[in-house]
């Protein structure tokens, strides 16, 4: 899967949880949860959605590695190897 495809999937799942998100306005290097206003329930739903869509396990201890959109894509790409 290319990084662009992965990005599309991540943004799709993000918009399912936060429909008002404008992907164009999202800064890939800035903290995701601040920009999109995700509370812990939204975040859990987002992680579950990525798990179900991509089949990756995301331990709670790894949440910090998903700080920004770029980091999230790096993390998922490495997991999908």
């Amino acid at each position: 899967m290319t990084r662009e495809q992965l990005r599309t999937i991540v943004l799709e799942e993000l918009r399912r949880i936060a429909p008002e998100t404008e992907p164009g306005a999202l800064r890939a290097e800035r903290p995701l949860r601040e920009q999109v206003d995700l509370d812990s329930m939204d975040w859990l739903n987002f992680v579950v959605a990525l798990h179900e869509r991509l089949g990756v396990e995301i331990p709670e201890a790894d949440y910090a590695k998903l700080g920004t959109l770029d980091q999230t894509l790096d993390y998922l790409a490495a997991k999908l190897g």
């Binding site: 329930m41 859990l44 739903n45 579950v48 709670e60 201890a61």
Partner: protein, 358 residues
């Protein structure tokens, strides 16, 4: 015959709009069954029947806005025979002229549901065309307008309920810093061994601890009505849920004292999803006996909330920081005093030190 009436789905709801019937005449209904969808300023709510019976007559039509208490439908009580056919002279169904019926079919309008302006109240072609034009105008309205109108309605509903609270309830406020390191460590270990889809959030521990403490302090759990406090048998915890487009609702998780933590977590996830997507139940909107608000997500240290009438207490939690959280209580001084409030808050703090027992 049992009247099924427009329910009051919130402290200051005056009217509601019938969106949809989930039953039709002749259907059996059971107590607790969802029978209709009602739109309130806050949400579209699935409303349950309070009685067993059989649907005899649907009085209200989808689209109608009616005051609280208006008869929406009639059930036959179990074993009750339907009454004899309407006597002559009783209002008959709308008569629809054949031309109007044809035009209605073309335009996709339900002619039977219209109020006719023709001879003897019959529905005319003009009535049908007027209804079709109104329907088209409603459909053409930009969704942004509808969302803005809805947000304004919700603001009004929140304003009414909160103004009533501040007018009627002499609030007192207490707070306590609660050590949370044990609960955090326990939760981390617990979630590490749980499948992703069954992870538990700290909010579920807060809700469960509040419910168990409320069992020990009944004056925190119930409703103040008609000048007197009525303690509740069960603890239905209202959970303040902010909506993405602004505003909030505080629907209840029922019987939290009897639900193990994983079940409380599932109920919370389900409630948040339905609060945001639509599909809350009438009983969830009215049954809460105490409210929990968890405002720490944005980094807020302490929240002193406004009690949701007719309830008498609200417990708030701020941000979890350095292994601590500030828990607060807004109490109703008509029902309890600060001393008991402090003991109640202390009990929540104690329960959170033994997360494995939650």
């Amino acid at each position: 015959m049992i009247d099924f009436t427009m329910p009051s789905l919130g402290a200051d709801m005056e009217q509601g709009k019938l969106i949809e019937w989930k039953v039709k005449p002749g259907d059996p209904v059971r107590r607790g069954q969802v029978v209709a969808v009602i739109e309130t300023p806050k949400a579209a709510v699935e409303v349950e029947s309070w009685h067993d019976g059989t649907v005899h007559e649907l009085v209200a039509q989808p689209g109608e806005t009616l005051p609280v208490g208006a008869v929406l439908a009639r059930w036959l009580a179990p074993g009750e025979a339907p009454p004899a056919a309407a006597a002559p002279g009783a209002p008959a169904r709308a008569r629809v002229s054949p031309a109007a019926r044809r035009r209605a079919a073309e335009l996709g309008v339900d002619a039977e549901a219209l109020a006719g302006t023709g001879p003897q109240g019959s529905v005319t072609v003009a009535d049908v065309e007027k209804a079709a034009a109104e329907k088209a105008a409603a459909a053409a309205r930009p969704p942004a307008d509808a969302a803005a109108a809805r947000a304004a309605e919700m603001r009004k509903a929140i304003a009414a309920a909160m103004s009533r609270s501040k007018r009627e309830i002499p609030h007192y406020y207490l707070s306590e810093t609660v050590p949370l390191a044990r609960a955090q460590a326990w939760l981390e270990a617990e979630n590490a061994r749980r499948p992703l889809t069954e992870r538990i959030l700290m909010a579920a521990l807060f809700i469960r601890a509040t419910a168990l403490a409320a069992r020990e302090y009944p004056e925190m759990n119930g409703h103040f009505r008609d000048g007197a406090f009525h303690p509740a048998e069960s603890v239905h915890v209202g959970v303040a849920i902010s909506l993405r487009r602004g505003g909030l609702v505080a629907p209840a998780i029922h019987d939290v004292q009897a639900k193990p933590l994983p079940e409380v977590m599932r109920a919370l996830g389900d409630l948040v999803r339905r609060a945001r997507a639509g599909g809350l139940r009438g009983s969830e909107m009215t049954d809460a006996t105490i409210t929990v608000t968890n405002l720490g997500e944005g980094g807020v240290e302490t929240v002193f909330g406004v009690i949701h009438p007719p309830q008498v207490a609200l417990v708030g939690f701020g941000a979890v920081r350095d292994g601590r959280v500030v828990a607060s209580l807004s109490g109703d001084h008509r029902v309890s005093d600060g001393h008991r409030g402090a003991l109640f808050l202390g009990t929540i703090a104690r329960l959170l030190q033994e997360p494995e027992k939650l």
